[in-house]
Assembly symmetry: C2
Homo-oligomer: 706 residues x 2
C-alpha cells in the first residue's frame, strides 16, 4: 500500500495541502460568522469599540498607502534587475502579508467588544470570543501562506518551468519579509509610543488608571494593541512561515532535486492546519482554566502533528532521501525515519520555546520575582535586574536552537534543519491564536473600563488579560526562535544558490573553480568573512537603535499633546469634558509611518552595498548574513524576555506584593515596564523579520551582482 501512497502524495501532496489550507480558511470564516453573530454589547461599549476600530482602520489605511509607494518602487527595481516572475512573487508575498495582518486586525477589533460583552455572561463565553478571534488570525496566516506559496509554485512551474519557478520564489519571500518589517516597525512604534506616552502623563503625572477615558491618549493606546500586537505579529509569523516554506523548497530542490523533497514541507503544513483546527475545537469545548485550556490546545495539536507526520514521511521517502552534501564532501542518503526525527525536533523546539519563555516572564517563577524584589530599592535596581535577567534568558533558548541544529543536521543534513524549522512553523496556526488572544482581551478590558461596566465583569477581563500577557510573551519566544532557525535555513539557501549560480554560465563574475571554492569556503580564517560578521552583527544594533529612539521621540510628542489638552481643558480631569482622542491617534500614526522607513531600509541597503564588491562581496555577505543572525538572535531574545519580565514584575507588585499599587516599589516597576515596552514590542520583535530581510535580499541579488 505504501508505494501507491507515496506516488499519490508526491503527485497530489501539493494540491492536497492546499485543500487543507482551504479547509482552514473555511473554518476561519465559520468562526468569523459565529463571532459576528454574537451580541456586541450596549451602546456605550459599541461607541468605544468604534473609536478603536476607526483609529486602527485609519492607521492601517495610511500604512498600506505608504508601503504601496515603496512596494511599487521595489517591484520596478525587481523587474528591471531580476525578472517578471520574481516581481509577481514579490507583489503576491507583499499583498498576502498585508492581508493577513489587515484581516486579523479587523477581526480583533470586532472580537474585543464581544469579549467584553461575553464577560457579562460568563468567563467561558469571554474566553471563547477572545480565543476564536485570535484563532481566525492564526488560521488565516497559515492558510494564506500555504495557498500563496503553493499556488505561486504550481502556476510558475506550469508557465516558466521548475528552475525559473524556484528562483522567483525568493520574490514571494522578499514581499512577505519587507512588509513584515514595515508592519512590525510601524505597528511597534505606534503601539509603544501611544502606550509609553499615555502611561507617562496618565499614570505618573495625573494618577489616572490604565484605560481611564479622561486620558486623551487612551484610545491611541488601545488602537496600538491592534495595529502592533495583532497586525504586526500576524504579518511577522506569516512571513516566517512563508520564508521557512520557501527556504525548505529551495534547499530540497537544490540539494535533492524536485519531487518529494519539494512537496514534503507543504504536506507538513497542510496536515498541521487540520491539527490546529482540532486544537481550536478543544479550547472551545473544554472546561479547563483559561491558561490550561490554551496550553492544552497547543499540546493536542502537537501530538496530532507528531502522529500524522510519521506515516506521511515514511510514505514520501520510501527509499530515504539522497542529497548532495552541502559541505562539498560527496553525497549522503537519509532514511525516512531520520527525516521524521528532524520534524519531531521542530515540534519539540516549539514546546521548549514556549516553556522557557514562560519561565522567564511569568509571575510564578523566580526571574520575575527577583525583578519585583529589586524594585524595592528603586528605579535603577529594577532596571539593572531586568537587563541582567534578559541577558541570562538567552542561554536556554540559544542552547536549544544549537541542539536543534546539531540533531536535525545530524539526522538529515541541511534538509533536516529545514524540515525541523518547517515543523516548528507548522504549529503557527494554533500559536498565533494564543498571541492574538492577548490584544483582544487587553482591548476588552479597556472597553469594560471605559464604558463603566460592573466590577465582576472587569474582574473577568482582568483575569483573561493576565493570561493574554503570558501568552503574548510566550509566543514572542516562539517567534524569535523560529525566526532564528528560519534565517539559518535562508543562509543555507544563500550558499546553495550561490554555488549553483557561480558554477552556471549565467554568472557575471566568471570565476575559476579555485576562486569559487575560495568564495564558498566562508571561512572564519578569512578576514573578509570576519569583517562581514562585524557588519552583519552591527545591523540589529543600528536597527534597534533607530527604532528605540523613534519610540522615545514619538512618545515625547504624545506627552506634550496630552499635557496641552489637560491644560487647555481643565474639565477633562474632572470628567466634565471629553478629550480629543483623534489628535493623539493622528500624532502616533504620522510618527510611526515616518520613523519606520529608515530602519527598514538599513538591512536592504547594507546587503546591496556589500554585494557590490563582486567576488569579495559574495564572500563577505556570508559573514554579514551569519553575523546578523548571531547578534540578532541574542538581542531579540534578551529584549523580549526583559520586556515581558518587567511587565509582569509590575503586575506581581500590583497583586499586593512589596507594598502593592502606589508604593515606591510600584513606581520603580512602572519605570521598568515602560522601558520594556519598546524592548519587547518594537525593537525586539522587529529583529525577527529584519534578519530574514538581510538573508533574502542576499539571495535576491545573487544573479544581479555575481
Amino acid at each position: 500500500m505504501f508505494p501507491v501512497f507515496a506516488v499519490f502524495l508526491t503527485n497530489f501532496g501539493l494540491p492536497l495541502s492546499m485543500l487543507c489550507a482551504a479547509i482552514g480558511l473555511g473554518f476561519a470564516f465559520y468562526l468569523i460568522k459565529t463571532i459576528m453573530a454574537s451580541p456586541a454589547g450596549n451602546d456605550q461599549m459599541k461607541q468605544v469599540a468604534e473609536a478603536i476600530e476607526d483609529g486602527a482602520k485609519a492607521y492601517l489605511g495610511r500604512q498600506v498607502r505608504s508601503i504601496t509607494v515603496i512596494a511599487v518602487l521595489i517591484t520596478i527595481l525587481v523587474v528591471w534587475f531580476r525578472d517578471v516572475p520574481t516581481a509577481v512573487g514579490f507583489v503576491l508575498g507583499a499583498v498576502c502579508s498585508l492581508a493577513a495582518g489587515f484581516i486579523g486586525m479587523r477581526l480583533a477589533v470586532v472580537a474585543n467588544v464581544r469579549t467584553a460583552q461575553g464577560a457579562t455572561v460568563s468567563r467561558k463565553k469571554a474566553l471563547q470570543a477572545a480565543f476564536n478571534g485570535g484563532a481566525v488570525t492564526g488560521l488565516l496566516v497559515v492558510g494564506l501562506a500555504l495557498l500563496s506559496v503553493g499556488g505561486f509554485w504550481i502556476v510558475m512551474v506550469k508557465t516558466v518551468g521548475e528552475p525559473k519557478a524556484l528562483s522567483s520564489l525568493v520574490g514571494v519571500a522578499l514581499g512577505a519579509s519587507l512588509i513584515s518589517v514595515f508592519a512590525r516597525l510601524g505597528g511597534g512604534i505606534f503601539t509603544k509610543a501611544a502606550d509609553v506616552g499615555a502611561d507617562l502623563v496618565g499614570k505618573v503625572e495625573s494618577n489616572l488608571d490604565e484605560d481611564d477615558p479622561r486620558n486623551p491618549a487612551t484610545i491611541a493606546d488601545n488602537v496600538g494593541d491592534n495595529v502592533g500586537d495583532c497586525a504586526g505579529m500576524a504579518a511577522d509569523v506569516f512571513e516566517t512561515y512563508a520564508v521557512s516554506l520557501i527556504g525548505t523548497v529551495l534547499v530540497g530542490a537544490l540539494t535533492a532535486g524536485f519531487g518529494a523533497p519539494v512537496v514534503y514541507p507543504f504536506v507538513l503544513g497542510g496536515l498541521a492546519v487540520l491539527a490546529s483546527i482540532a486544537g481550536i475545537l478543544f479550547v472551545n469545548v473544554t472546561n479547563m482554566k483559561p491558561g490550561n485550556a490554551l496550553m492544552g490546545g497547543v499540546l493536542l495539536s502537537a501530538v496530532i502533528c507528531a502522529a500524522m507526520f510519521y506515516p506521511v514521511t515514511a510514505a514520501m521517502f520510501p527509499e530515504g532521501l539522497k542529497t548532495v552534501n552541502v559541505l562539498g564532501l560527496g553525497s549522503a542518503t537519509y532514511t525516512a525515519g531520520s527525516i521524521y526525527f528532524a520534524a519531531v525536533i521542530g515540534l519539540l523546539m516549539t514546546g521548549a520555546a514556549v516553556l522557557i519563555t514562560n519561565y522567564y516572564t511569568s509571575t510564578e517563577y523566580s526571574p520575575v520575582r527577583k525583578i519585583a524584589a529589586a524594585s524595592v530599592t528603586g528605579h535603577a535596581t529594577n532596571i539593572i535586574a531586568g537587563l541582567g535577567m534578559g541577558m541570562h534568558a538567552t542561554a536556554l533558548p540559544v542552547g536549544c536552537i544549537a541542539a536543534s541544529i546539531w540533531l536535525s543536521y545530524g539526522a538529515a543534513g541541511l534538509y533536516g534543519i529545514s524540515v525541523a524549522v518547517m515543523a516548528m512553523l507548522a504549529m503557527a496556526g494554533i500559536i498565533i491564536s494564543l498571541d492574538a488572544f492577548g490584544p483582544i482581551t487587553d482591548n476588552a478590558g479597556g472597553i469594560a473600563v471605559m464604558s463603566g461596566m460592573p466590577k465582576e465583569v472587569r474582574a473577568i477581563t482582568d483575569d483573561l488579560d493576565a493570561v493574554g500577557n503570558t501568552m503574548k510573551a510566550v509566543t514572542k519566544g516562539y517567534a524569535i526562535a523560529s525566526a532564528g532557525l528560519a534565517a539559518i535555513v535562508l543562509f543555507g539557501s544563500y550558499f546553495v544558490d550561490l554555488k549553483h549560480h557561480l558554477e552556471s554560465p549565467l554568472s557575471k563574475l566568471h570565476l575559476s573553480a579555485a576562486q569559487i571554492e575560495d568564495v564558498l569556503a566562508f571561512s572564519l580564517k578569512d578576514p573578509k568573512v570576519m569583517i562581514g560578521l562585524f557588519i552583519g552583527g552591527l545591523l540589529p544594533y543600528l536597527f534597534s537603535a533607530f527604532s528605540m529612539n523613534a519610540v522615545g521621540r514619538a512618545a515625547g510628542a504624545v506627552v506634550k499633546e496630552v499635557r496641552r489638552q489637560l491644560a487647555a481643558k481643565p474639565g477633562i480631569l474632572k470628567g466634565e469634558d471629553t478629550p480629543d482622542y483623534d489628535v493623539c491617534v493622528d500624532i502616533v500614526t504620522k510618527a510611526a509611518l515616518k520613523e519606520m522607513i529608515v530602519p527598514a531600509l538599513i538591512p536592504v541597503v547594507a546587503v546591496v552595498l556589500v554585494g557590490s564588491f563582486g567576488m569579495e562581496g559574495a564572500k563577505m555577505l556570508g559573514g554579514v548574513l551569519v553575523g546578523s543572525i548571531v547578534t540578532g538572535l541574542f538581542m531579540g531574545i534578551s529584549m523580549t524576555s526583559s520586556g515581558g519580565a518587567w511587565d509582569n514584575a509590575k503586575k506581581y507588585i500590583e497583586e499586593g506584593n512589596h507594598g502593592g499599587k502606589g508604593s515606591e516599589a510600584h513606581k520603580a516597576a512602572v519605570t521598568g515596564d515602560t522601558v520594556g515596552d519598546p524592548y519587547k514590542d518594537t525593537s525586539g520583535p522587529a529583529i525577527n523579520p529584519m534578519i530574514k530581510v538581510v538573508n533574502i535580499v542576499a539571495i535576491l541579488i545573487i544573479p544581479i551582482f555575481f
Copy 2:
C-alpha cells in the same frame, strides 16, 4: 648603513627594547619619588586618605589571597596537562598582572591626597600630581609587560629552545588574562556595589551629597575607585598589551619564522615607551587647559611613534617579510613599507577610538544632550534614550575595527593585523596615564569634601574630576577596541597553532590530511561552526548577566547596612556621630570576592567542554572564539558608551540645564547614571579580558585535547 642596522636590530632589538622598558620603569620611580616628596596636606586630609588606603590595601590583600588559591590550582593543572615552562609562564604572567594593578593602585591612593593638597596651591600643581600618579601606572604596565614577556622569551629560548619557548608563551598570556578577569570583575563589583549602594541611600533617600562624610558607604565608594578603576584597568591593559605582544610573536614565528618577525613587536613597544615619556614630560611643562594638555601629550606620543617606527621597520625588513599564507593558498611577501603602513593603522585606530568615544560620552555633543533632554519626561525615557544611544554607538568603532582589519590584512596579511594591534597597544603607556588620572582626581575631590576644604579648592578638584570622567570614558573605548583586535590576533594564533599541531606527530587525533582540511576550514556552512558561534556568542551574555546581578545583590546589601546604621545611630545624619565605614568596606569586599568566581570560570569551562569533543570540538571552538569576539565587542562598546553617556547626561543637568540639580529631570538622570554604573565599570570592561581568556584557553588546550 641600513643592513648593519638591520642585523644589529634583529640581534639586539630584544635587549634594547627591554632597556627602553627599564628606562620607563626608572622614570616611573623618579615620578614616585617626586610625588612622595610633595606635601600630603593637613591631618584631617591625611586621616581620610588613610581610611581609603587601608580599605584598598585590605581589599587587594584578600583578593590576592583568593586568587592565589585558584592560581595554585591552575598551575598544578598546567604542569599536569601541559608542561613546566608553560606553568612558569602562567605564574609570571599572573604575578606581573597583579603587580601592575597593585603598585598602580598603591600609588593612586598616595597621589589622591597630594592632588587635593596641590589644589590648595594651584590648578597646575593638582593636575601634575594627579597625572603623574596615573603616569606611574601607565609606565609600570608597559614596562612590566615588555620585561616579563621579553625576559621569559630570552630565558626560555636559551633553556628549552625556540619551539618550546613559543608554545609556553601562552602560559604567560593565560596568567595575565585570568588575573585580569578577576581584577576587573572583583574590582568592578566592589566599586559599583559601593557606588550604587552609597548613591541609593545617600543621594536618593537621605539627600546627602556625593562624598558626604555622614554616609557610612562613602569610604567604600572611594576605595572602589581605586580597586576598580585603577587596579582593574591597569591589570586589564597590562593583559591586552602582553597578549597582543605574545599573539604577534606567535603569528610572526609560525607564519614567517623566528628572527625579525619575533623581535619587531618588542622594538615597537620599546620605542613607544620613550615616546610615552616624552608625552608625560609635555603634560608636566605645558600651560594648556587640563583636557587639552592631556590630549596634547597623547598626540605628541603618537607622532613620535609614527616617526620612529619608519626607520626601524625599514631596517628590520630590508627585503620585506615572506610568510606562508594562512588561508592555505601558498606564500606571500610583504614590503617594509606595507608593514609600516599596518603599524600606522594601529596608531590611527587609537586616535579613532579616543575621538569616537569622546563624541558619544562628552557633554559637548548631541548624544549626551539628547539623553539629558529625555530625562525631562522621566526615568523611563532617560533609560530608553541611553540604551538606544549605546546601540547606536557601536557603529563607528566596529566600522573602524573592520576597516583596520581590512587595511592591515591587505598590507601584510595576518602579521599585518598583529602589527596594527601591537602599534595600538604601544600607546598604552600614555593612555593609561589618562585613565588612572580619573580615579585619582575623583578621590581628591572626595578628600576635599570630607576634610571640609574651602570652596575654591573644591572647584579645582571638581573641574579636574570632570576632565577625569571624560578621560575614563575615552580610555574605555580604547581598551575595548584594542581588546577586540587583540582577540582577533589570538584567534589567528589559534588556527595557526592548531594547524601546526594537527600536522605534527604529537597530535592525539591522528587526522588525515582531508580531515585536517575539514577542521581548519572553519566554514560558516558547517553547522558545527554555526553552533560554535552561538555558544561563543552566549558567553559575554552569560558573563555579563552574572556580573550585573552580582552588583545588584551587593549594592542591596550595602543599602541595608547603611539604613541600619542611620537608624541605629540617629546622630550620624546630624553630624554628631561618626558612621562605621569599615563594615561597608567589609561587606563589598566579601561580596566582590565571592561573586567574581563563577563568571570568571564561565569562559574557561565552556572552552574546555567544547574542546573535549575531539575533532568536532576543534572545529566548533573556531566558532566559539569568533562568536565571543563578535557579541562581546558589541556588548562591550554599547555598555561602556551608554554608561559614560548616562554619567555625563547627569553632569550636564547638574550644570544647570533642564532644571538643574534637584529637578525631576535630575532624579531621572541619577537613575540612568546608576544603571550605567555596572554597565560601564563592571560588566562592560570585564568583557575585554573575558574574550581573551576564551581565546587563550583554546590555544592552551590544543596539545591537551587534539
